[in-house]
Symmetry: C2
Subunit: 382 residues, 2 copies
């Protein structure tokens, strides 16, 4: 990796159509798991003008009223008025749910992975969250966009929005913010000048870190199209699983391609990605490396991973052979082992479906705990 460069990451608000789809899928998952924690759920959502369509494979003993959950999520997100382009109580709700394929269930019932695939986890000590700086900053902006809307600090802000932050790295460390892009859906009666001032003073300045953000030196693009009244599913069709880089590390490191939302934890796309983050984060938190990326890969119906790769990008403080051994010793990697260790059979997923699955400190995010630090350090002789 170069030492001096610009790196860009983006985030979207909970009102972005792809993110509404993720929240609907995880809202349904949570409602089902709350009643029957062994349910198999694979739930996909597509949203377009006036329509929310949910399809998927669900095997459960639970009974939930899926249309109500869909409408609740859309309401919580903030689309409550047809004049905003989407309205939770008048939109059309379609569902097409069937059972998990018996052929797949067979492989999963015996403890095997619910699919083949590759998953990555990443951690770096460049922020307190042990996350890459650009994605941390991008999420701060979209969270704040939602906040100024909900608290009516900027009453003309509407639910759909995006942010993007370009960070200049020097000697491999975040040095300054180079460019910020913010786009927010807005009411038709506000001027571009007002938007620019409001976003600048109430969104960007309050949440950008003083040490990296010098307002005069940063290029700002605030609502660069010049108009963003049409938003949400009316401006852009939303689908579950289409913000997988926003969900993870903002493009720092690799991605295996699997989406998270709507999937119960027997799907390794989700559970093994959480475990890979947990491993990487504990290694960095233990001081065994400055950066760490973990790849896990599975075959469908097989419990043990077919490959495990721990890559510190040459920042390790102990030998890589030793690291490999520590990882195999301290971290379970079968679907069952992961589910138990991270307590994933709980209705904790809707919260993950906006502002990132990683770098969060809410107690449900068990995969963010650094509770293996002491054992790792001891075993590494540190």
């Amino acid at each position: 990796m170069r030492n001096n460069y610009l790196f860009t990451s983006e985030s979207v608000t909970e009102g972005h159509p792809d993110k509404i789809a993720d929240q609907i899928s995880d809202g349904i998952l949570d409602a089902i798991i709350a009643q029957d924690k062994f349910s198999r759920v694979a739930c996909e959502t597509i949203l377009t003008t006036g329509i929310a369509f949910v399809a998927g494979e669900i095997s459960t003993k639970a009974y939930v009223e899926i249309p109500d959950i869909i409408r609740d999520v859309i309401k919580d997100v903030g689309y409550c008025d047809a004049s905003w382009g989407f309205d939770y109580h008048t939109c059309s709700v379609l569902t097409s749910i069937h059972q998990q394929s018996g052929d797949i269930a067979m492989g999963v019932d015996s403890g095997g992975a619910g699919d083949q695939g590759l998953m990555f986890g990443y951690a770096t000590n460049e922020t307190a969250e042990l996350m890459p700086m650009p994605i941390v900053l991008a999420h701060r902006l979209t969270r704040r966009l939602a906040e100024v809307r909900k608290r009516k600090i900027l009453p003309w802000v509407r639910p759909d929005g995006k942010s993007q932050v370009t960070v200049e790295y020097k000697n491999g460390k975040p040095f300054r913010i180079d460019t910020i892009v913010v786009s927010t859906q807005h009411s038709p009666d506000v001027t571009n000048r007002e938007i620019e001032r409001g976003i600048m003073e109430q969104v960007i300045k309050p949440v950008m870190p003083k040490g990296l953000y010098d307002p005069t030196g940063v290029k700002h693009h605030i609502n660069p199209t010049g108009r963003f009244v049409v938003g949400g599913p009316m401006g852009d069709t939303g689908l579950t699983g289409r913000k997988i880089i926003v969900d993870t590390y903002g493009g720092h490191g690799s991605h295996g391609g699997g989406a998270f939302s709507g999937k119960d934890p027997t799907k390794v796309d989700r559970s093994a990605s959480y475990m890979a983050r947990y491993i990487a984060k504990n290694i960095v938190a233990a001081g065994l490396a400055d950066k760490c990326e973990v790849q896990l890969a599975y075959a469908i119906g097989v419990a043990d991973p077919v490959s495990v790769l721990v890559d510190t990008k040459n920042t390790e403080k102990v030998s890589v052979d030793n690291l490999d051994k520590l990882v195999r010793k301290h971290f379970p990697m079968t679907p069952r082992g992961i589910i138990e260790h991270l307590k994933l059979r709980r209705p904790i997923f809707r919260k993950t479906a906006a502002y990132g699955h990683f770098g969060r400190n809410e107690p449900e995010f068990t995969w963010e705990k650094t509770d293996k630090v002491r054992a790792l350090r001891k075993d590494a002789g540190l």
Copy 2:
């Protein structure tokens, strides 16, 4: 990066539900572009038992019969019989298409990017295609799966299938194949023994490279669930844009998160990813580096990228400052410049929607041309 490790990548056949969705989206795009090359298209597909639903934003002067295109793609893919789980002429086809938001069109009409976002391109000299070995091998297996089905070499093979290849790297180079996973949908009347033998002899052995593949030393997982009769959209809901790592580099290097299929080239998610590959490939082909990753990032409505990063992972043969300059000099990076240089206003996209967008040698894949090698070498003084 470590020097000795296992790395895993996967591929899926054209009959995988997510890939059918991609092919439908790109089939519609091609039909529209063929009539009106300045069309704006963002076309998303979801497929589940008995249903194909297409939604999106399309502004065009063309007239196409979308349901016919959808049925044609499903037929070509091979789902022609309800007893296989999906049937092109009896499935339900739903569409909900509206125009591109005028607010977005405004920014794009003036030559700006159709969205914000980050895009990566990658190349490595570890294969002739200048692609990472694991994804090249994974695609060979899925292509061959389709071939043995279509040519009836294995008459019990059905359209849905997946492959996964774990490659052992030694000293940073592919050294041997460690594990192969192949799952194929099949007719109910074939035994697991027949499947195993057929896949082994007719699919794996004919396409795995002798130098890397020692059949006795490789772990094979062939249809590891033990049964895969239910397949296609009946076994798993398919969505456009959900195989973005299969579409690109198999998890080697970074991904910006944007999907390709169904998007006209004013969408930088697609066009800038193609340009980033073209840049990276020409740099490696010119011998300026062994590996190269390029990140481009855009703000919506703005033509020039907000950041450009060329990263050779420390394999450069000329200074990185020099590389940066060469890239800026030789490669256009505005949406218009990219579209013109790579000739993207043509109906060439459906072909890209299965077996990867990169590492292909069909003439339409202009982003794979190494026609900048001579100019780059000359300027670099090589």
